[in-house]
């Protein structure tokens, strides 16, 4: 192809380089110049991660042919600061306002914001939102970003450090890396010899593979390796049920199933090679609907289901891979005792994590044949274990190192891209990097399970709930993935809010020929909360009781038991709900037309599972925290965990450094998810830091010749309480220890939060009991609904969460604002649609509708603090429960505004209008 010389000035530096026609400006910036601060989130101009300023205006670098840029002046994120010590005011503001969570959208956001302030020095918030409306953010809900831009514009960026360590609004420690564009995410990892890996996926939703011929692909110039199932031992892997192989072998089970993979010199060659692989399929009848899949005569998706190894006991049958049951009391009697029985059905959609950062991994093989896989993954030790199982490689020969994660939300919790990079690298003898396209993200990763619910409850006129019976079916797609756990959680969540003496729950996890659904932020929480809290609202209305009063009457109190028999402690539903009611002025009647208010509560569990942390005292007295736990983007490690360690040792959080995510260097961690960051890793870090402090104290006591009890630690010094001038520094102790006896002083801790006691007689088929750290919240919405178009306009949004203790209130608010935005996406606009042949109809950011900065309302966050005995400083998990209530709260506001109950998410304008018209047709025959 005819290359052409262009000269471009990037961040004031002139570059003359030969570019080929198929290079974009984005590729030139990232791959040729090596400035990886400009990100690639979609390649279609829909996400804004690649925003740069070109000749004075922000543009999407992915949409510009490099050849068009001759003579242009480009500013990237790396050109925003006036040098390392002189950040742009916007960069300072983003750091101090908590505008950075995962950091992946941050460079593009900053570029758009800079362009705005260059033209309009003091824009109002609405204008800021509009200027940022082409930059998708999945973490923050945009609010803190708008705050930051406002503050930078008005010159009100705070610079003082918080007074208290615990409870202080410390910005993310690594925020400076994100705002300057130097942080390395999955796709930013480079290697001069790296080949490009690509995956061939099934064209059928369900088919037998008769034959795969890779010879033509192997012969193509520039192809380095082709691998298929024949190159891998038959090692099954899976979270709860081992039902998956690295490549589909005899059968493909969804359109997207991995069939082969290619490594080549360039992406174009790899793509071409995929088209040369011939796969002979024998199509089988697919099944996409869970009810059809549960029928006796349904096509069977996993013939070997009964033979698969599983980590828990459950009934299986046909396409049903898990049956979970909860039994309490006598439901028939309870329903008979009721004054009124109400039955409702609900359905929820496939929601995608849609992290702006796609999955990416680089595999390298060292001279001993050891595998190093560098990957954007939430669970490095699990990847090592799965790789070892799936490929039957000894664990010692695998090293997994996690990069920064540009948004996880559970989508990077499983082994997805890693084995293909490893297989290809082993076969071709070169490092292989695979980066998913946006379409692949939507086709072949692990989104939220769609679910359907049938709930029937009895209620007395005084508001007493007498019984509840519920059936819920989770569509797990082609593989079980996290489905059994999701169904288990659903059983716990649905019985976790209200006092109900008689309960019967039946949950099913069912295979269909769709992508494997997995763990998305609060797996089961938004689905269950939408169904339960809509149903509860209707129960209250059916007996003419205010929905707030009904909740206050029936919500569980500390000391009471959930349906599975877990005793609730350390939480205060009433306080949390009343905080929302107060902020909403709940008792004030709404007189505006088509306007209503709604509440929804959430019960969730802060995740357990084991972890370990090592705290090392370095020679200068600074501290390294070594943990295999990663930060999926929430910032908990870089804020709360650092603060917890600093507080425990008595030093400045700035002196705490993190070593993380490396299976070679770090102790075990189960994987980051389940709202376990602060609750579990934070707790373990606190214990490790306390152990390190005791080791320091022992030396100090000897040196200062006093007993341990008389010493205290502050600002990296240990001094005698009664005579502060008698003191010794961490550095002195540490240097001596390093040189004289071999350092460092370390504090090590392992931690497994206890499972909570449940009543085994009540449950059957659940994959685990219940975690201790119950975390709750309540959201309130006031909304207007257009009876003309069905459009919902959020007028007010209040979200209260009982966080136990906000170790970092700024970060906690960020979780709430981001969770609400994601929850509103689930409620109103997001849906991954599956076509008749099992194809994804909308695999792009154009048609998968993430809320933009103009779609998300301002959220009023309320932090309720009922300390949890088990959490560090009383803290509970918060990441997941924040996104559970929005759909139900909005649904309840719609019910209030239009007397219309929406039973399906997303509640798009079209669905609302159509339901409204159905209802008008059905009236007047005695509707409630």
């Amino acid at each position: 192809m005819e290359d052409k010389n262009i000269t471009v000035t990037i961040n004031t530096k002139r570059h003359t380089l030969a570019v080929s026609p198929n290079e974009t400006l984005l590729r030139v910036i990232r791959d040729r110049i090596g400035l990886t601060g400009t990100k690639n989130g979609c390649g279609e101009g829909e996400c804004g991660a690649c925003m740069v300023i070109r000749n004075g205006k922000p543009v999407n670098a992915c949409l510009i042919p490099a050849m068009a840029c001759d003579g242009d002046e480009i500013t990237t994120i790396e050109g925003l600061a006036d040098g390392p010590d002189r950040l742009h005011p916007l960069q300072d503001a983003f750091i101090s306002h908590g505008a950075v969570q995962c950091g992946f959208c941050t460079p593009g956001m900053l570029i758009s914001a800079k362009a705005l302030l260059d033209d309009y020095p003091n824009p109002p918030r609405e204008q800021i939102r509009k200027a940022l409306s082409g930059n998708l953010c999945r973490c923050t809900g945009y609010q803190k970003i708008v705050d930051a831009v406002s503050a930078a514009a008005s010159g009100t960026v705070p610079s003082e450090k918080p007074e208290a360590v615990i409870g202080g609004d410390y910005p993310r420690r690594d925020a400076i890396e994100h705002v300057t564009g130097v942080s390395k995410f999955g796709a930013d990892i480079t290697h001069s010899r790296a080949a490009v890996g690509k995956i061939l996926r099934s064209e059928y939703a369900h088919a037998r593979i008769k034959h795969i011929d890779v010879s033509a692909a192997e012969e193509l110039d520039g192809v380095l390796a082709v691998v298929t199932g024949a190159d891998v031992p038959r090692g099954y892997f899976g979270v709860d049920i081992k039902d998956r192989l690295v490549f589909a072998r005899e059968k493909v089970r969804y359109r997207g199933d991995e069939v082969a993979a290619v490594a080549a010199e360039t992406e174009a060659i790899a793509q071409k090679a995929l088209s040369l692989i011939r796969v002979d399929y024998e199509p089988l009848e697919p099944v996409f609907d869970v009810r059809e899949a549960m029928a006796d005569d349904a096509p069977v998706i996993h013939e070997q289901l009964m033979d698969y190894a599983a980590g828990f006991e459950t009934e299986k049958q046909g396409n049903i891979c898990t049956m979970a049951h909860v039994r309490l009391g006598d439901v028939e009697k309870g329903l008979a005792d009721a004054d009124l029985v109400l039955e409702s059905t609900f359905r929820t959609q496939i929601q995608h994590q849609a992290s702006i950062e796609p999955h990416a991994a680089m595999a390298e093989i060292d001279s001993h044949g050891r595998i190093l896989i560098t990957t954007t993954n939430q669970k490095p030790f699990a990847v090592r274990r799965y790789l070892s199982h799936a490929m039957q490689i000894p664990m010692i020969n695998i090293r997994v190192n996690a990069t920064k994660i540009g948004g996880g939300f559970g989508g990077k919790l499983e082994m997805i891209v890693e084995p293909y990079a490893v297989l290809l690298a082993r076969k071709c003898g070169r490092p292989v990097k695979i980066v998913y396209t946006r379409a692949e993200e939507f086709l072949a990763t692990t989104p939220r399970h769609p679910a359907s619910f049938k709930i029937k409850s009895g209620v007395k006129k005084d508001g007493t709930i007498t019984a509840m019976q519920a059936e819920f079916i989770y569509d797990t797609g082609a593989y079980s993935g996290n489905g059994p756990t999701t169904v288990t959680l659903c059983a716990q969540v649905i019985g976790g809010l209200y006092r109900i003496p008689n309960v019967r729950l039946d949950g099913y996890c069912v295979y269909t020929n769709k992508m494997n659904c997995g763990s998305m932020r609060g797996p089961s929480a938004p689905q269950t909360t939408f169904a339960l809290e809509s149903h509860i609202d209707d129960l209250a209305r059916a007996i003419d009781m205010d929905t707030l009063d009904f909740r206050l009457k029936n919500l569980l109190e500390p000391g009471e038991k959930t349906a599975v028999g877990q005793t609730l402690v350390d939480m205060d539903f009433k306080k949390t709900v009343l905080a929302v009611a107060d902020a909403m002025d709940w008792r004030a009647p709404i007189t505006d037309e088509n306007t209503g208010k709604g509440l929804a509560c959430v019960y969730w569990l802060s995740g357990g599972w084991s972890t370990s942390v090592t705290v090392k005292i370095n020679e200068d007295g600074s501290v390294s925290v070594v943990t295999a736990a990663v930060d999926m983007g929430t910032g908990y490690l870089y804020t709360s965990v650092i603060q917890i360690v600093a507080e425990a040792l008595g030093l400045d959080p700035d002196d705490v450094h993190l070593v993380q995510g490396d299976t070679d260097q770090c102790g075990y961690d189960h994987g980051i998810g389940g709202s376990r960051g602060v609750f579990t890793v934070g707790k373990c870090a606190k214990m490790a830091a306390e152990n390190a402090l005791e080791a320091l104290m022992a030396v100090a006591a000897r040196k200062l010749k006093v007993s341990r009890e008389r010493l205290e630690s502050k600002n990296s010094w240990i001094s005698v309480k009664s005579a502060p001038e008698k003191r010794v520094s961490f550095a002195d102790i540490s240097v001596e220890r390093h040189i004289l006896s071999g350092g460092p002083i370390t504090g090590v801790s392992e931690y497994l939060p206890e499972m909570d006691s449940i009543e085994p007689g009540r449950v059957k088929g659940l994959s685990f009991p219940a975690f201790k750290g119950v975390t709750i919240g309540c959201h309130g919405v006031k909304a207007h609904v257009s009876s003309d178009t069905g459009e919902v306009k959020i007028l007010k949004y209040v979200a209260a969460h009982d966080v136990g203790r906000a170790v970092n209130p700024l970060a906690a608010e960020g979780q709430i604002e981001g969770g609400v935005a994601m929850g509103l996406g689930f409620a109103l606009s997001e849906e991954l649609m599956i076509g008749r042949q099992g194809e994804v109809v909308n695999p792009s950011f154009r048609d998968y509708k993430l809320p933009t900065a103009m779609d998300v309302p301002e959220v009023e966050s309320i932090l309720v603090e009922t300390p949890a005995a088990y959490g560090p400083h009383g803290a509970k998990g918060l990441g997941e429960p924040t996104m559970a209530p929005p759909a139900a709260a909005v649904g309840n506001a719609i019910r209030d505004a239009l007397k219309l109950r929406m039973t399906e998410t997303p509640m798009t304008a079209e669905r609302i209008l159509s339901a409204l018209e159905e209802k008008k047709k059905a009236v007047p025959s005695g509707m409630p």
Partner: protein, 287 residues
């Protein structure tokens, strides 16, 4: 085989290059649609002829006989922000300002938005209701084509191979009131479910004179809703006629079911958007 990316300096060079190419070469304006559809040159064997250097195509200008010329390469941001356009064609400014996102509007051009010929092209309905004509440079010289006749189907126009849309000629008419409304699932980055351009000129006697109603995303091309226009023309702008006009919209459109909306929803919304826009104008009259 011509070069894969060519930036000619004149219209005739551009045309020559196009006509000499093997039919896989495309004129390239802002690239925001082409780069998504085809990717950069080379991947699928196509080439681009950039129109960026052609002089005179990137400006908004007063012309004789009370006309305004908007060059085809004028960026959507410029159209949205132009004082001249805001003064004379505010509905067009609103439409241009509603396309995609700020960065997409910085790259995308009004000519590209029209030539991409999406049924949902946001600038098309206002251009149609302002009585705009497309100015086209062809092999045989310049021609003007009324916007109503410009589109021939989804992604197709009446342009002949090699033709270059150089801009739009719009007649100023201070008596006209016009509106633009866009319905989508999001407030930004949104492909319209239905878009509406509507212009109205009252005659001296308190009755509707010329009425133009154009809708996007409800037919294979942006369409004029002549039946509804005729109901209003010669009649006072009153609720009765407004409701009748809105009810007539369904007769002139042919929406489809797609992933964004069903045909039924589009049909309903099209009528209601026309009704609400007219009612709003009616209310303004009575204030």
């Amino acid at each position: 085989m011509t070069t894969r990316f060519f930036k000619p300096g004149s219209i005739s060079d551009a045309m020559d290059a196009y006509l000499k190419s093997d039919g896989t070469t495309h004129y390239f304006a802002g690239g925001t649609d082409l780069m998504v559809k085809l990717g950069p040159p080379g991947n699928t064997g196509h080439g681009f002829i950039s129109l960026e250097r052609l002089s005179g195509l990137n400006r908004v200008q007063e012309r004789p006989e009370d006309k305004i010329f908007i060059g085809a390469m004028t960026g959507l941001s410029e159209v949205a922000g132009s004082g001249l356009i805001a003064e004379h064609f505010p509905a067009l400014a609103a439409a241009a300002g509603s396309v995609g996102s700020p960065s997409i509007r910085n790259m995308g051009t009004i000519g590209g938005n029209v030539c991409n010929a999406s049924p949902s092209a946001d600038t098309a309905p206002p251009l149609m209701v302002y009585g705009a004509s497309a100015v086209v440079a062809g092999r045989d010289g310049e021609k003007t084509i009324p916007m109503d006749a410009f589109f021939t189907g989804p992604s197709t126009t009446c342009l002949k191979p090699g033709d270059i849309l150089t801009g739009f000629m719009l007649p100023k008419n201070p008596a006209i009131r016009a509106g633009f409304v866009k319905l989508g699932k999001r407030k930004a980055m949104e492909c319209s479910i239905v878009s509406l351009g509507l212009s109205l000129e009252m005659d001296g006697a308190g009755k509707c004179g010329t009425v133009r109603i154009a809708l996007g995303a409800v037919a294979p091309t942006p369409v004029r809703i002549v039946r509804a226009e005729k109901i209003l023309e010669g009649r006072p702008l009153e609720a009765e006629f407004i409701h009748r006009a809105a009810a007539a919209v369904a007769g002139d459109i042919h929406p489809i079911d797609d992933l964004r909306a069903t045909a039924g929803y589009r049909r309903k919304m099209a009528g209601r958007m026309v009704r609400e826009t007219l009612l709003q104008m009616c209310r303004q009259d009575h204030q």
